[in-house]
Each structure stands twice: as C-alpha cells, then as structure tokens.
Amino acid sequence: MTMRKKVLWEKVLLAAGVLFLSASSALAEPELVVLPIDRAKFLAGQKFDMEVELRGAKAEEIKVLLDGKDAAGFFGATPVVKKEDALSSYRVDGVALTQPGAVKVEVEAKAGGKTFRKSVGYTVAAPEKKRAKNVILFIGDGMGLASRQIARILSKGITQGKYNGLLEMELLNDGLALLTTSGYDSLVTDSANAASAYATGHKSVVNAMGVYENSAPDPLVHPKVENIAELVKRAGGMSVGLVTTSNITDATPAAMVAHTRRRAELNFIAGEMLKADVVLGGGSQQFLPQSTPGSRRKDDRNLVEEFKAKGYAFAGNRAELAAAKGDKILGLFNLDNMNVYLDREILKHPDVLKDFVDQPNLMEMTKKAIDILSRNENGFFLMVEGACIDKQLHAMDWERSAYDTIEFDKAIGIAREFAAKDGSTLIMATADHSHGVSVTGTYHERDGKTGRHGVRTYANAVFPTFADADGDGFPDNPAPDVTLAVQYANHPDYYENFKFHDKPTSPAIMSGDVAVANVKRAPEGVFYPGNIPLDESSEVHAADDVPLSAAGPGADYFKGIMDNTEVFFGIVRALGLDPTKKR
C-alpha cells in the first residue's frame, strides 16, 4: 500500500472507529474490574491498595466481600467510594492479607437496575525462616539465552566444540529456572512491567511498575503493591542498593523503588531513589534543577543537594566513586545513560564519550555498592542491572551488547567473591525479557564473499577467531577475521553488512511516524525490508522465556518453569521477611 493510500485508510478507519465508539459506549456492558487481579499472590503482610471499578456506569452500590466478610471490616479500613457517571470505584489503601492460604473475593455492583458480579481468588504465602542475610539480584536487561551464549563464546572461547570455560553467571548453579515474562495485559513485556514482577511479586502492564492499572489519567494514583525496597526496609531494617549503566531512573532500577503507571515519570522516579542507600548509574539530568543547563527536570528541585543533605556522598566520576566515604552514596556518572563498555573502556572515541572520559565500570560500581551495603548488620538487597545489553540489541549492535554482557558477568564475579567470604548471600542472575537474536554461524570474507554470501552456516561456520591476549575476559578486537553471524528475528527497514560499527549507529531513524533505514549504519550494506510495524525504529522485545541462575542460601527455590513473579517470592523466602510483625 502506498503511503498516501495508507493515510487515507487510516482516516477512514479513524472515522469508523469514532462512530463505533460513540455507538458502543451507549450499548457496551459496564465492566467490573477487581484490582489486584485474579490469581494474585501476596507475601503475608505485604501492603497493597485494593480497588474495585465499575467502568461505564454509575453504581448505586458496590459491595466487596473477602472470605464472606465486608472488606471494610475485614481490613479494618474505611473505603473511599466514588460514584461518577461512567465510572464508580471502591478503594481501600495500604491494607494487607496476613493469614497464609487462599482468599476469596466476591464483588457485587448495582447500576441501572442491573447487578454485576465478579469473584477472584488470591493466594497468601507464609513468611519463611531466614536463610540468607543478603540478596543480590543481577538483571541483564534483555539478556536472553543467546546473549549468554554470545558472551560465553567471546569471553571464554570454544575449542573443538567444548567451551574453554563458563561465565560467572553460569557458575551460579544451586538453582536454575526458566522464567515466563508476560505481564497481565500483553504477551510481550517491557522492562518496567518485568522488573515490577521481580520487585513486587505481582504482574503489571507495559510501562507500569509497582501498581495495578485503574482508569485514572494520573499515573501516580493507580493502586500500589509494596515493593522489595520498601519491604526489606520495613520488615528487615536492611539497606538497599541500585546499580545500573543506564539512567538510574530507567525502568529496571525504578521498579525496585517506585510506583507509577508510566515509566516516563522520570522527575518523580528520581525523587523515589531516596528510598535506596546506594544509587549508582547514569542520568543526572533528572537530578538537577531546571535552571541548570543539561537538566531534564520541570521544577527547581536539586536532588543532588537533597541527597547530600540526607547524608549521601556524591560521586560524579570513577575517582570520586573510589574515594567516597559513608554509608550512603549517590553516584551519577553521566547526564544520560552511561556509555557502553566497548566505547567507555576500549575504543574511547572522543565523539562518543565527549567529556565523560572517567565513568566507572559495572564491576567497580558493584564492588563499591557491596562495600557500603555490607556494613548493615541486618543485611542488604542489591539490584545490579546490565542495562545496555538490551539497549544495544534494540540498536541491532550485538557486539556492544556482548561486551556489556561480559561486563555484567564480571560484576557477578565480584558478588561471587563477596558471597564466598560472607556465606550468607543469595545471588541471582537473570534477564527481564528476551530479544529476537540468534547465532546462525559465523561471518568472514576470507574468500572474497560478502554480505549474505559471507554468512557461514553448518560445517562452513567452523569457529570465530576472537582472541583475548591480555586475559581480561573481553576480546581484544570486536571485529576479528572470523566473527559471529548474529541474526535478528525482527527489525525495521535497515542496511546490513554483518560488520562491527566503530561508532554506535541506529539501524533506522524516525521520519515523521515512519522509521526509515539509516544508510550510515552499513556502508555498502544490503537493504533488508522490515518485518515489524513502520513506526518501530528498532529491534523489539521477544516473548521467549529467560533463564535464571542462582547460588547461595535459598537458591533451591528456583527450578523448572516459573512465573516471573516467583523471583520476588524466592527473595523474600530467602530473607525470611515477615512483614506481619512489627520491627
């Protein structure tokens, strides 16, 4: 279809849609929605907001029964009831289910002479005995099975079909599970929704964290569920650390502490970082008052100063991180996302790094975080994210992604060293979702063949020639004579030459609402028409299950195929958290 035709069609469809909507709003049955959703699972004592909405009608009455008892009496709380023309709501905030086992919720709403009923069931997990003092959760963003394998090939090498070694994360072998990743709204998740499942034990929706989705336009008023940072503080008196290579306000670290329907509430999320004791990453742009050039705040809050006033040391580069003292630290090493390992530590191109020539690596940040957090005798929860494993796969730059996977893996090595001495630390390494990438074989031009003809499959693939002469675990050259043929299951229109890009280059750029192939990505490359919608400018997430490896006390929880929300229950089980008890 030509573009002009497509626009015309969209207009026709839009007009039809408006007619349909105006007709259907009169005819559609009101919908009764119970939040949390059916089959939600709680840790006994975990706080949450419960909300029942009758969408599309003004209710005369809403009754909510838990195990046959009125909700107000059951929780000992006063509900807030709103009855508006097209929306009625019944809400109790900050309540908890304290008795382990099953809870049946029955809801009844009367509107316009009709009665609407819905019944859902919850499960409440009993607090367990304490197994571990500390938990370190490593999240390789978008790091599916192929990402692990690419990192293993590059970092460890393979000889006659046997790997010369395993990754640090692959040596976490007290527990191994495959996690399903979907949210409750959609098969394919995003990093907010996925990390939220780990942080709360509850599924959410794309772009949301720490909340169930109600009808409110304000993203900050959706019903909340207590997250791991809040729980370990409240029930364990523990310290919390967040370490990433992206903006610290990005979805994965944000979901550990914040509650918002929209991950884009970055100004708000930056303030929520005060819930953690160690905050290390990029993204100072959200911490500077709007009057400071480079700020992305829409107010005058100077969060760097607020953190300092609350006793945090501040570090803006590697040297300051090393020198920082105290029990709390805010380290922000770039205005935006930190650069990737390959650019930061190896290539160091001035156009790419600009003035950010002294950013610490993930190993240094992880080490510092553990040094500080381990001073708390009650223990700590630390989340370390390899953020750009994902960002570089979106950009179809598997080499930059792979070096960041190796960096992430080496950070896991730092944690393993600590755990070996400490003896009471559960380490988990997983991803939040996958990408559609696979190793198809190798690529070389030794015989003059290029492009698709240079992709070597089956017996022709033999082995790539990555070398690591200095033994640091990172290949000396990201573009060896024989490299990997890494291929993408989904992509926008783009140019491919199967070669490494000296500078990060987007596969497609936005032209209006259409992604067009970026000719700069692959000079003399071949054009491949995209296989995803025209407005997607990057490779997108895949629905594949992701592996989780765990070691240490409590790691035995992880086996077989598990729902992603079980990561939370594995953590609170290991820590023996009991939020039903007052500390």
């Binding site: 480079g294 700020s295 400018s537």
Partner: protein
C-alpha cells in the same frame, strides 16, 4: 530502549505539508547556497556549543556565549516535530532514532537546538541534514504553548537542505 506508551499524539498530517515544505526549502536554498559572507552568519557546530560537560551540568562554550544575540548558521537534523503546524522544531546532531515527542519514555540528547520559525507551517525532511540561519538566543526558556524547555535557540530567518 523503546516501549512506547500507547497514548501519543499522531503526526500523520505532517506528511501533507511535505510538498509545501520542499518547495519552501528549494526556494530558500538558492539564497543559502552562497554561504556566510564576511559579515554574514557565523558557522556554529554542535561540537562547539559546550565547554565542560559533567554530571552536574553543562557549561556553555565561550564561542557560544560570544554569539548570543548574533546571526549564526548551523547544520543538523530536524527531529520529528511535536505537531505539523510548527512554530518550533528541534535541531539535533544526528538523526533521531526515537521520537521523544511521541514516545514518552524517550528523551532528547542534551546537545539540541530549538529553532523558532517566522512562518508557522513548514517542515523539512527528517533524515537529511538541514541548514538553519538565524539569531542565536541562550538561557533556559519554556515554550508557553507546549511547555518544552530549551537552553539554546535560533530564531530562524532561513532554512534549507544542507549541501544543496
């Protein structure tokens, strides 16, 4: 990187302005092709705008500060606009692979220039470099209509495709 919010404005109408925009650009490029005269606009590169950049903020370069209020010419890329009837657009160093206006979790790079236009209706290609001439203005300013905050602005007197 990208997981777009479902609620984002549509820009489909923008295409309708392209034909007009290209006409405008081809006319103006005839004048622009002669390049800066001795007293003409001073060329300013994206790499010349800032002094020290650190996590605690950006210092404007001496060159940028010395050009405040003066005529400059810059080359860059026009980011996909907020709305088709443009009163301003964002000029970027490289073409944008994201649309921060349409994807609420995408953010702008810090080295951007906001270009205000005399004529509200005008659009140029997003994937080819363009050339902007006009008066440079510095300092934090919030666009009254959209709330968009800018630090470096050009009040454009002339727009063209670069290299024509």
């Amino acid at each position: 990187m990208k997981s777009r919010d479902s609620a984002y404005p549509s820009f489909k109408i923008a295409r309708a302005f392209w034909a007009l925009a290209l006409l405008v650009s081809s006319l103006s490029s005839i004048a622009a092709a002669s390049g800066p005269m001795a007293n003409g606009p001073v060329p300013l590169g994206f790499g010349e705008m800032y002094g020290k950049v650190s996590p605690l903020g950006i210092d404007l370069s001496e060159k940028l500060k010395s050009l405040s209020g003066k005529a400059v010419v810059m080359e860059g890329f026009m980011a996909p606009p907020l709305k088709p009837t443009l009163e301003f657009f964002v000029l970027t160093r490289v073409p944008m692979s994201i649309c921060p206006f349409c994807s609420s979790d995408a953010d702008w790079p810090y080295d951007i220039v906001v270009v205000y236009l005399r004529e509200p209706v005008m659009a140029l290609p997003f994937d080819r470099p363009i050339r902007v001439e006009g008066r440079l203005e510095l300092g934090t300013k919030t666009d009254p209509e959209t709330g968009f905050v800018s630090l470096v602005r050009i009040y454009a007197t002339r727009l063209s495709e670069a290299g024509i």
